[in-house]
Amino acid sequence: MTQLALVIDLNVCVGCHACVTNCKEWNTSGPAGPLVDQNPYGKNPTGTFFNRVQTFEIGEFPHTETLHFPKSCLHCEDPPCVPVCPTGASYKRKEDGIVLVDYDKCIGCKYCSWACPYGAREFDEEQKVMKKCTLCVDRIYDERLSAEERRPACVRACPTRARLFGDIHDPHSEVSVAIRENGGYPLMPEWGTQPANHYLPRRKTRLRLREDEIERADNPLKIDRELPQPGKTEPTLDDVTSW
């Protein structure tokens, strides 16, 4: 079984919002119709996005660290938003594990958004249906695109390659290796939703050297001090040996 997912490397994300804008561009131009933007040039612009980048400050000055945190649907393996849908508009694809909304069946009751602990779903105030990240399902299977382009828009846009895309059920895929080897973790594991998307933590490269590793503790020069210098009148090695 396949489970497509994103792996987001928080160590590399610089919070540039390129994934947000490229996601919006691709998905607002797609066959499902525009993603609404309300009051775009007014005082309080708002609209529907599949992806948001949030920023958190960890710690207290001067020991602070800024964390940019891209957040989209996690395509849970046990999605709580799917069984609550009364119409079946919200569903999880068997073949690749993508959680989708059928915009033609959705009645806009918003119950699925209540059932998502991550706030990953956003209601479209114009089409009056629930919308969410599709992992660019209209793009990743499009044979007319080159293999390189058959990836979600956000992954393509990321300038630091903080976003990886692939099948987390394939142990040899790029994403599985990244999760396994770089400490990938799911969000809010306490709810048992088994999010498919994983996050790689901030990682610091620190040299952990002890004093005695920098300077050899058992250096014979240290133990015996300087070797005794032979006197000027003493015979040299050359004098006493014949080659």
């Binding site: 920023t55 009364p86 959705c106 956003e122």
Partner: protein, 326 residues
């Protein structure tokens, strides 16, 4: 959560309708065994119509909650997994059975279908009534479970949610049945008002129990588990939008905590504290339609506040991601 008025009216109105029908059928059952004076068909007929009116009003209110009401019929398809879908099926089923029950009484289409061993005749309305009672309780369970099944909303994720929907709906329905009886069959008043009081006390115990429970809840999710960073001090700086989003509108009530506390006292006063002495007054012999009507209206307004509080109190874990803009 942001309390939606459509849902507040839906849940309170159908609660009254269900409770009212249960009161009618309680009276009919008692009367069948000679424990209460028998009533004619018009008593049950008008009562069913009134209950139906409340259910229809609730159904209409529910449509305002939908973004695409023209597709509402689709909501009946996922009854295997969704409590909302089950409610969508049970509500019309209950309304249909209730209509048949009322019609059978109004037009006196009420044949004896058989005899119980004790010699009490089983009438058609009795069979319809048992069926409608089943649907009424199923509807209470569906409505309650819509909220109680969401495990992330821990304020709702308790059997008390379903119990309180049943008890509050029952109390308000029996109170409306008392008002109705004051017009059409005053002889039933001591019985109905007495049961209203009993339900009111039970509902008070249940609601206060849920208030105490929710007060002691500790959030399961924290900002640490939400973003996966182990540090006691994490502050949100941006949330990806300056002008708000669906996430900031749907999951916040947007009111200060002091207002929430005031609403809590207000609904305890209106739902329980004011109607109870009025009902006691009626029970002690001061039979007055105005008094009962006042008690019902005050309690219904209180129930609107109660439901508002029910929604506003629920704290969704997604709010962890939407704490500040800048």
């Amino acid at each position: 959560m942001h309390p939606a008025f459509s849902v507040i009216f839906l849940t309170t109105l159908i609660g009254v309708g269900q409770g009212f029908f249960l009161a009618l059928f309680t009276v009919e059952s008692y009367a069948a065994f000679g424990l209460l004076p028998a009533q004619d068909g018009s008593y049950y007929g008008t009562g069913s119509l009134l209950a139906l009116a409340f259910l229809i009003a609730g159904l209409i209110a529910s449509f305002f909650h939908l973004g695409r009401p023209e597709r509402a019929w689709r909501a009946a398809t996922r009854w295997r997994t969704s409590w909302l879908s089950r409610e969508v099926i049970v509500l019309p089923a209950f309304m249909a059975t209730l209509s048949l029950y009322g019609a059978a009484h109004l037009w006196d289409f009420n044949a004896d279908l058989g005899l119980l061993p004790s010699g009490v005749p089983v009438k058609l309305t009795f069979v319809l009534g048992v069926l409608a009672t089943l649907f009424a309780f199923l509807l209470f369970i569906c409505t309650g479970m819509i909220y109680a099944c969401l495990r992330f909303l821990r304020e709702w994720h308790t059997p008390l949610t379903v119990i309180n929907y049943i008890l509050l709906g029952g109390a308000s329905g029996f109170l409306l049945a008392s008002v109705h009886a004051a017009f059409s069959a005053p002889v039933l008043l001591p019985f109905l008002v007495g049961w209203t009081l009993i339900l009111l006390v039970l509902a008070f115990v249940g609601r206060v129990a849920s208030l105490i429970r929710n007060r002691r809840l500790k959030p399961k999710s924290t900002l640490q588990s939400a973003i996966g960073v182990k540090h006691p001090k994490i502050v949100q700086k941006t949330q990806g939008a300056m002008g708000g989003s669906f996430n900031t509108r749907e999951f916040f009530h947007g009111q200060p905590a002091s207002l929430l506390r005031s609403v809590r006292w207000l609904f305890l006063l209106l739902v329980f504290a004011i109607p109870a002495p009025l009902l006691l007054l009626v029970l002690s012999g001061e039979v007055s339609v105005d008094l009962l009507l006042l008690a019902f209206v005050v309690q219904y307004v209180g129930l609107l506040f109660e439901r508002w509080f029910f929604f506003a109190q629920a704290n969704h874990p997604q709010n962890l991601y939407y704490q500040s803009v800048a």
